[in-house]
């Protein structure tokens, strides 16, 4: 029943001469939440960006190894990047809505992918805003500027925007680090709900957050993946001393 969405094998990543990820091997189970934890600079965000080839934009960055999405390597020469990023969406640390209306933010992706029909777009926008638990708050102000929303609402709008192109995977890079506790709780709740439809991979500095929302936790340290396991086990009886030391605050 539990299938791996991503299967990463011997992944190495260099920024110029800096060896940022070292022989990473791990599986990301489908329709579940995977949390990546580790101190700053450990490579977890770099790893996240490998999953939809966002590192391609960084000059001097090179990647070797395999990253299989449903069995096929996304680093194959023939990979259609537009298609890949439609399948693997991303939400960033700071909410980054486009300077346009709420409606247009959500409709942006579908329009880009060729959806022009008004009714179809309206349905997609409503559905996406419902999924991201924002609909009830914005249903009457869909044509107001997105930048007028609160930080937490903006982040949920970004999730709606990511969801609008019907991705299979959502990558989230510290999605709550710029939000207050209430907005954070709202997003966390949302992430728990999203896992019934999507595979979610989330980078977080907040270990309690990883413990609360994820099914699997992967611990990164100095470019290596030290330990991967069910979240419950990682937070009660981690196997590796380094994981233990990190999550109990003995270093990091």
């Amino acid at each position: 029943m539990e299938k791996d969405k991503f299967s990463v094998r011997d992944l190495d990543l260099f920024y110029g001469s800096n060896h940022a990820l070292k022989k990473i091997n791990l599986q990301v189970p489908e329709r579940s939440v995977t949390a990546l934890i580790g101190p700053s600079g450990c490579g977890k965000s770099s790893f996240l960006r490998c999953l939809n080839r966002m590192n391609d934009f960084i000059p001097g960055c090179s990647v070797t190894g395999r990253v299989e999405l449903d069995g096929s390597d996304i680093y194959d020469a023939g990979t259609d990047l537009i298609h890949l990023r439609r399948r693997v969406g991303m939400v960033f640390q700071r909410p980054n809505p486009f300077p346009m209306s709420i409606f247009d933010n959500v409709a942006y992706g579908p329009r880009l992918h060729g959806d022009r029909d008004r009714n179809t777009l309206r349905d997609i926008v409503e559905e996406s805003l419902r999924v991201s638990a924002l609909w009830n708050e914005v249903r009457d102000i869909l044509h107001s500027p997105a930048l007028a929303l609160s930080g937490g609402q903006q982040q949920r709008l970004c999730i709606a925007r990511a969801v609008a192109v019907q991705p299979e995977v959502l990558l989230m890079d510290e999605p709550t680090s710029a939000l207050d506790p209430m907005a954070t709780a709202r997003i966390e709740e949302l992430v728990r709900e999203l896992r019934t439809r999507y595979t979610v991979v989330i980078v977080t500095h907040n270990m309690q957050q990883a413990a609360r929302i994820s099914d699997t936790t992967d611990f990164f340290l100095s470019g290596e993946m030290v330990e991967s396991g069910p979240t419950q086990q990682m937070f009660t009886s981690p196997r590796d001393k380094r994981t233990e030391d990190y999550i109990t605050g003995r270093f990091g």
């Binding site: 101190p39 500095h205 270990m207 309690q208 413990a211 990682m234 937070f235 009660t236 009886s237 981690p238 994981t243 233990e244 990190y246 999550i247 109990t248 605050g249 003995r250 990091g252």
Partner: protein, 233 residues
């Protein structure tokens, strides 16, 4: 836990305080058992009363430990080893408090037979009490040193306590058969022996928690004891 050094330091300080309280509780439990046995041997009513009254101190200290543990969970949200330690301390304080109760139980039963001469010299009951004291002592040492090997040895020591309990039972049964006038006191002595046997079981619980706390794996004390000879005994 928050990943800050100050948080770590505060957590470690709180941990030290709660561990000290647990050790104190341990020595009070040990004293309760030893005091009760001594009172029984010497037929010392004042000492028996002191043990019984002393139970309140154990209860209060247990309560304090529980509050400290909850406060630490609320403040630091411990995980991994820290979480296992706090959870084990919570369980261990309950076991130690029970051992104290059993000591006070022994003292209560002892008071019932102070008005008459003992039907036999007491040898095995004091020996049981001594074993239990040694076990509690070793368990507390294993706790402080996170010494799983010692914790497992303590589990094995409980075999002797169980043997003594059976031996006492057989001996007293004999005395009861010989003379029905022995029945009342013998029954009380059997109760005392049973209380001590139960205390031994609580010490093996302590050891299970120590191993879980240290390694993250659950053990059963029975695995470190000799094979069971049969439950009909």
């Amino acid at each position: 836990m928050a990943n800050s050094l100050t948080g770590r330091k505060e957590f470690d300080e709180s941990l030290l305080r709660i561990e000290q309280n647990l050790l104190k509780l341990g020595s009070l439990a040990e004293e309760a058992i030893a005091g009760a046995i001594w009172a029984l041997q010497k037929q010392d009513d004042a000492l028996a009363l002191k043990v019984i009254e002393g139970d309140d101190v154990l209860d209060d200290l247990t309560q304090e430990i529980n509050e400290q543990a909850l406060m630490m969970i609320a403040r630091f949200q411990p995980v991994a080893l820290d979480l296992r330690t706090i959870s084990s301390i919570l369980h261990m304080s309950t076991d130690l408090e029970r051992i104290g109760d059993l000591g006070s139980g022994v003292a209560k039963v002892a008071r019932k037979i102070f008005h008459e001469p003992l039907i036999k010299p007491l040898i095995d009951i004091p020996r049981m009490g001594e074993r239990i004291r040694e076990m509690i002592d070793a368990a507390l040492k294993a706790f402080m040193n996170r010494d799983c090997a010692l914790a497992r040895e303590v589990c094995a020591m409980d075999d002797e306590v169980d043997d003594l309990d059976r031996q006492i039972f057989r001996e007293l049964l004999m005395l009861m058969m010989q003379n029905p006038r022995n029945i009342e006191q013998a029954t009380h002595l059997i109760l005392i022996s049973r209380n001590l046997e139960r205390a031994g079981d609580h010490v093996t619980n302590l050891c299970e928690h120590i191993v879980y706390m240290t390694t993250g794996t659950f053990i059963k004390a029975g695995d470190f004891r000799r094979p069971h000879e049969g439950k009909n005994e």
